[in-house]
């Protein structure tokens, strides 16, 4: 299916075995359980000036955004959306108060489609009329909607084995005490059965996560009920506390981040010394997102085509089974290698991280980079105490301003890496930079080039004067990007790619217009202050009359540049020479083939025709020009 034999979308420098492994190992199935009780529809903020947004709206936004990222980056993952505390019911078990949302002929738990995203993003308009909201657990009623929701979600997640698929349910709610409406034995009974239900699900390998939203007047209290439901203990509860809903955007951000499942790439052992060897997990936090794979279709029927690969012997034309031997031409002879020998050559050390030593951070230069970095975070899963060693090392490295140099025996490209400790950075929108170490792949001597030395002369290179540097500084101050952060620009090529696909997938006629965010801010650059700074700098380096000089020089070049003078002289000489012959007669008598190439070319030059090619080509070109 996803074969791309021509490698159209494969940029060879982006080749990343990490990505592939990640995809295979961690397919994910998620059920979003969204509380739809009337509480979710009350305004989420108390400030009068802000737009009155509801928690429900926030959640719909988050899920839509996450589905959009998912269809681009991880479309093999499957997702189901399920509301609880609804008026209507729609689920296989026919349980009250639970509505499994779906579109078209998609399975309830399936890969996201363009239509699902589109319809879901405007669900609010029709939610009340089609699905409806109500209080779930009320006094007098025997219904336990939360219990039902868990049950439905568990049933949805039945397909696929937990060994190969990670299965999750995410509960979105702003109700910290769902059983507050009832009392007495009924209440304790309901709580007990609900918790039991959740525990059963967890025993089956499904993970349950809570994404709580705080209402403006009171904070969400996890310990009231949900801590028991998802099985948290004391220390972990603090982790779950939502930041008070001061700003709704921050909350959206936090939810969005939390909805993302951490996918680890690998577990590595990190040998610090011969007998201290800890366990770390690696994560790919930045990887270039590429347009998805393509598949070939029959242009008539639009039915997918199967690609068959065959190996043919170049000498005999015989069909081969996948050949196991490789060869390299060396000194004009064939040197054969088996695949096993090659992999042995590549294995220069055992497959893990080996600490070599430490260096000050300024030894890591800007050009010591080849590939996106990998993040490492400790784990105590196999070796107890790993985290402690890692934390100690992390804080020593931060304090002493050093990075660790280590050897990573990756079998495809064993490499020296710099491990740079990263301190945790948080903002009101939650964690911005996680604590841990970034593994930066270092180049070898063969990978570094010296282009700056290509054009050296024995003269001193011109250096800017202090005055010029001062002018440049004021320019820098003028064109300053305030609050710049790397993640603020969307990739215009990718947005366009998927914009087109989305439009076509939904059968829309209009092609979407994608704004290219990476273009400079023309308006800002046209501000008088900026223009003045640029002009001053330009004048100090290029001189006052540079533009004029440039224009004159360009004009002079166009009219009578050296090159054009030369060209003119050649043409003149050629026309003189070519005038010596009667070309039409020569052509008629078939004498052209007796002429020399130089003579033929003189005709072509004189008539401004291309002079490339073999003699026959020249003759035929002359004939064409003569109209014969």
């Amino acid at each position: 299916m996803d074969l791309d034999p021509e490698g159209i979308f494969r940029d060879d420098s982006d080749e990343d075995d990490d990505n592939v492994q990640e995809r295979e190992a961690n397919k994910e199935m998620v059920v979003y359980l969204v509380d739809a009780s009337p509480k979710m529809f009350t305004p989420a903020t108390t400030q009068a000036d802000e737009k009155q947004e509801t928690h429900f709206h926030t959640i719909v936004n988050c899920i839509t955004q996450s589905l959009k990222t998912q269809i681009i980056g991880r479309s093999y993952d499957e997702v189901a959306i399920c509301f609880f505390n609804t008026k209507e019911k729609k689920n296989l078990q026919d349980l009250a108060g639970v509505y499994v949302y779906n579109v078209g002929d998609r399975d309830p738990l399936d890969r996201p489609t363009a239509k699902l995203i589109k319809d879901f993003s405007c669900i609010e308009d029709s939610f009340m009329s089609n699905i409806g909201s109500r209080y779930g657990i009320t006094a007098g009623s025997r219904e336990n909607t939360l219990y039902n929701a868990l049950w439905v979600a568990q049933a949805l997640l039945r397909k696929g084995s937990v060994k190969t698929v990670s299965k999750r349910m995410l509960i979105f709610t702003n109700e910290d005490d769902p059983f507050s409406a009832i009392t007495g034995a009924v209440k304790t009974d309901m709580i007990r059965t609900t918790i039991q239900r959740a525990k059963d699900a967890q025993d089956l390998g499904l993970s349950i996560e809570l994404l709580p939203l705080s209402r403006p007047d009171e904070e969400f209290n996890v310990s009231l009920f949900y801590a028991d439901l998802i099985g948290l203990d004391g220390a972990e509860i603090t982790e779950y506390l939502p930041s008070a809903g001061e700003k709704l955007e921050d909350m959206t951000d936090q939810l969005r981040k939390r909805m993302m499942k951490k996918r680890r790439v690998k577990t590595l052992s990190f040998a610090i010394t011969n007998d201290v060897c800890i366990e770390v997990n690696t994560y790919a936090l930045t990887r270039p997102t590429t347009p998805g794979t393509i598949t070939w279709l029959d242009s008539v029927s639009n039915i997918p085509l199967k690609t068959e690969r065959s190996f043919i012997c170049n000498d005999t034309g015989a069909l081969l089974q996948d050949p196991q031997m490789r060869f390299q031409m060396y000194n004009d002879t064939v040197v054969k290698f088996s695949v096993r020998e090659l992999s042995e050559v590549k294995r220069v050390s055992s497959h893990h991280l080996r600490l070599i030593g430490f260096k000050p951070l300024d030894c890591l230069k800007d050009y010591h980079n080849l590939r996106p970095s990998t993040f490492i975070y400790p784990s105590d899963e196999h070796i107890f105490g790993s985290t402690r060693v890692f934390v100690a090392l992390h804080s020593s490295m931060l304090r002493l301003g050093r990075f660790a140099l280590a050897f990573y025996g990756n079998p495809t490209r064993p490499q020296l890496v710099a491990l740079v400790a990263q301190e945790e950075v948080t903002s009101s929108a939650g964690q911005v930079e996680p604590p841990g170490m970034h593994m930066i792949y270092l180049p070898y001597s063969d990978d570094i080039r010296y282009p700056e030395e290509v054009h050296v002369t024995s003269d001193e290179a011109p250096r800017a004067t202090d005055e010029q540097i001062k002018k440049a500084s004021s320019l820098l101050k003028r064109i300053d990007l305030k609050n710049f952060s790397v993640c603020q620009f969307a990739n215009p090529a990718l947005q366009r790619h998927y914009g087109i696909l989305e439009a076509l997938a939904l059968g829309e006629d209009e092609m979407p217009d994608i704004k290219d965010e990476t273009l400079p801010d023309e308006e800002g650059l046209a501000r008088p202050g900026v223009v003045k700074a640029i002009d001053e700098f330009k004048a100090s380096v290029y001189g006052e009359n540079y533009d004029q000089e440039e224009a004159e020089a360009a004009a002079a070049k166009a009219s009578r540049g050296d090159a054009s003078k030369k060209r003119k002289a050649i043409t003149d000489a050629a026309s003189l020479k070519s005038a010596a012959y009667d070309w039409a007669e020569l052509a008629d008598n078939g004498k052209l083939k007796d002429m020399t190439v130089v003579e033929l070319k003189s005709y072509l030059t004189a008539h401004d025709l291309p002079i490339s090619g073999k003699k026959e080509a020249l003759i035929s070109r002359i004939l064409t020009h003569l109209g014969k």
Binding site: S75, K257, M260, T273, N274, D275, V276, A284, L285, G292, I294, N302, L305, T307, C313, R326, T333, V334, K336, V348, R354, F358, L364, Y367, N369, L370, S373, D380, H382, I383, F384, G385, T387, A392, P414, E424, P434, S445, I448, V456, T457, E460, A461, R463, I469, L475, L476, D480, L481, F484, S485, C487, Q488, N491, E502, L504, I514, P520, I534, K538
Partner: protein, 687 residues
């Protein structure tokens, strides 16, 4: 004639100050020749040795002088002869005069090529420690000037690699030599690098020539009416493992011209009718959008796809701190001002210096080529040149787009339970480790990326050469110098032993008994210091673990295990599928024995080590490798005789395990008398 064909003369110092690294000089030059045999078959190479006892060069014959310079290999198209000439570099006995060698090399090039055009290069590897001969007339500086003029006239470039052991005392002679070499650089005919370890010597020479090609030539647009002319080159680019072709053995052996290549053929068949091949013009690309496949023809796609204009535009400047180092995405480019354009050079210099002073960086958006389907968005950082005749420039690093970042949340270290927080004592142990395992003491940096060779590629090319000669050769083990890249330096580890043990004691690591080890983890053999407590009772168990970590098995067969070391060793020798096995077995045994002794506490390993020594000695006599054993014994003795295990040698002496003498193995240069008095004499000498 191939484009970019090059003629190269290697000028190798083999004088006494270079004896320690002759092996590395040989290796690096061999790799260079091997790569030429693969990639640049028509390049020509000559080899000149200097500091040799003998003299053999044209200039000496014609003019006299130029003593101790030997032309080991005339300039010829590379072949086995070239690598053969490098195999046996003689250790010279005379301090080498590199200027003489440069003149001889230059003379060879000029004689051979005269004024014809082409790439010519000299490559000088020397320690430049010794006083140069005074020229008959004028000063040495004049001489350098004359040589540089000649080189300029014939367009010959030179690469100088100066090797000096770390910590060597710099004297006036060296300073003068350095100054002379830098004089070549100032005349823009040479590049000079200084290295101080055998490993970095291996990385100092560019073994493959890559013609620099610009990624982009054009304007760096600050605004619509202010543009700076720049050229962009790659600064780093990964040198990949060569892609080997698939081999077909179908051609008859008699066919001398068989290509042995395999053609890969793709056929597209309909899922419905598996027998029908669909021709290319009947195929259309389907783009995946979620589970849907959207068919679009290339023409349609061309009409709607993103087509940015070629150009490099500045978005603005920002604080350096807002760009995190780990966001750099790809290999790095270099923006240099258009060569010969003084105004552009000044503009780049002014902005780069202003950025450097204010700690700012520039954000740019680049479309390198017209018709490119995407934009690169990245950061320019200043590169202030420290060399007079090199211009200031910018480094360019690609930054991620919003789609490329995955915002995973991780638990904050401060909120971890106290069981995962280090105690003060543990923190101190970690601090000490970070301080002591310092790879960049003042004035030095070990394993600088600029001088670190790729061990995998080094190994591949030497294996390629070996295989060309012996088709059934096994993969050779990693050389000692290359091991310095993949493992910490054992000397440093030895020095810091107490510190490392401290760290091990401070932290307690335990395996999770509930988790079964995964297959890969089995190989990794975690060993925790936590095992130490129980290991006192059963020392061999612990040793086993340590050794596995110390020497991770590179082969499944043929490792020496703790249980029956002697048997394993003998098994390895017996295997001898190739001669490398013997060497490997001996090496493994030496390592194992050393480790035994070093990890020995109160002599608990002595009897085992004794057995090992005896076995090794016996094997070395049988295999006619007396030197191996003699050297090993001498080294071990020298190193450990002062330590805790000194009494072990008394034990050896009492068992008559001494050097192998001539009587036992004819290859040995040790007399029986020497062997008998080995321990006695050494003791006497040390006192």
């Amino acid at each position: 004639m191939a484009r970019n064909k090059e003629a190269l003369v290697l000028l190798l110092d083999v004088g006494p100050s270079m004896h320690g690294v002759l092996q590395e000089v040989k290796n690096i030059c061999s790799t260079l020749v091997h790569k030429k045999l693969v990639y640049n078959r028509s390049d020509e190479v000559g080899i000149v040795l200097f500091g040799t006892k003998e003299t053999c060069n044209e200039l000496a014959k014609e003019l006299g002088g130029y003593k101790h310079v030997t032309v080991a290999h005339d300039i010829k198209v590379v072949d086995e002869g070239t690598s053969q000439a490098l195999q046996n570099l003689p250790a010279g006995s005379v301090p080498g005069d590199f200027l003489d060698a440069v003149v001889v090399g230059l003379d060879m090039l000029i004689r051979k090529y005269g004024n014809t055009k082409g790439k010519r290069r000299l490559c000088l590897i020397t320690s430049a420690q010794h006083r140069l001969r005074d020229p008959p007339e004028g000063t040495k500086e004049d001489q350098v000037d004359t040589i540089a003029d000649q080189m300029k006239r014939h367009d010959i470039k030179m690469e100088c690699i100066v090797f000096r052991e770390p910590g060597i005392h710099h004297n006036a002679v060296m300073d003068e030599n350095d100054w002379l070499l830098y004089q070549f650089r100032n005349r823009s005919v040479a590049k000079v690098v200084q290295v101080d370890s055998p490993t970095s010597l291996l990385g100092a020479l560019k073994t493959r020539n890559v013609l620099p090609v610009t990624v982009f030539r054009g304007d760096l647009e600050v605004s619509s009416n202010f543009k700076i002319k720049v050229w962009v080159y790659k600064k780093t680019a990964e040198e990949k493992f060569p892609t080997l072709k698939k081999y077909s053995d179908k051609a008859p052996p008699s066919d001398k011209f068989a290509s042995h290549e395999v053609k890969v053929d793709y056929e597209y068949k309909s899922v419905v009718e598996p027998d029908k091949v669909v021709p290319p013009d009947q195929r259309i690309k389907g783009y995946l959008y979620g589970p849907q496949v959207v068919p679009i023809s290339s023409a349609e796609w061309e009409a709607v796809k993103f087509k940015p204009e070629k150009g490099v535009k500045l978005l603005g400047f920002t604080d350096r701190s807002s760009i995190l180092r780990h966001h750099f995405m790809k290999d790095v480019c270099l923006f240099i001002p258009e060569p010969g354009n003084t105004k552009a050079t000044l503009a780049v210099s002014a902005i780069a210096r202003a950025m450097h002073q204010m700690n700012k960086v520039a954000i740019v958006r680049c479309v390198w080529r017209q018709g490119q389907g995407n934009v690169a968005f990245g950061v320019l950082t200043p590169n202030i040149s420290s060399v007079n005749n090199i211009q200031d420039s910018f480094y360019f690093n690609v930054l991620p787009f919003a789609e490329d970042i995955r915002e995973f949340q991780f638990r904050s270290f401060s909120s971890l339970p106290s069981s995962s927080q280090p105690t003060d004592e543990q923190q101190e142990a970690a601090d000490n480790l970070v301080k002591m395992l310092d790879l960049a003491p003042p004035g030095r940096e070990v394993l600088k990326p600029e001088f670190t060779p790729n061990p995998m590629l080094e190994r591949f090319y030497s294996y390629l050469d070996l295989k060309a000669k012996q088709p059934d050769a096994n993969v050779p083990p990693l050389e000692r110098c290359l091991r310095r890249i993949t493992e910490p330096d054992p000397d440093v580890i030895d020095q810091q032993t107490p510190l490392i043990q401290n760290l091990g004691k401070a932290f307690e690591l335990k395996e999770n008994p509930k988790k079964k080890k995964a297959r890969t983890q089995d190989r990794l053999a975690y060993t925790g210091a936590g095992d130490q407590a129980k290991s006192v009772a059963e020392p061999s168990a612990e040793k086993d673990g340590v050794l596995v970590v110390l020497y991770p098995p590179t082969e499944n067969i043929g490792e020496i295990r703790d249980l029956h070391p002697v048997q394993d060793f003998e098994a390895m020798l017996a295997k001898r599928s190739s001669s490398t096995w013997v060497q490997k077995a001996i090496e493994e045994m030496q390592k194992y024995t050393t480790a035994l002794l070093e990890n020995s506490r109160d002599g608990d390993n002595y009897s085992k080590a004794l057995e090992c020594f005896a076995a090794l000695r016996k094997a070395c006599i049988i295999e006619q490798e007396p030197e191996e054993f003699n050297q090993f014994l001498t080294k071990t003795y020298e190193r450990l005789k002062k330590g805790d295990v000194a009494n072990f040698f008394q034990l050896l002496s009492s068992k008559n395990i001494s050097l192998i003498s001539k009587g036992e193995a004819p290859d040995s240069d040790v007399t029986e008398e020497m062997a008998r008095s080995f321990y006695l004499k050494q003791e006497a000498a040390s006192e």
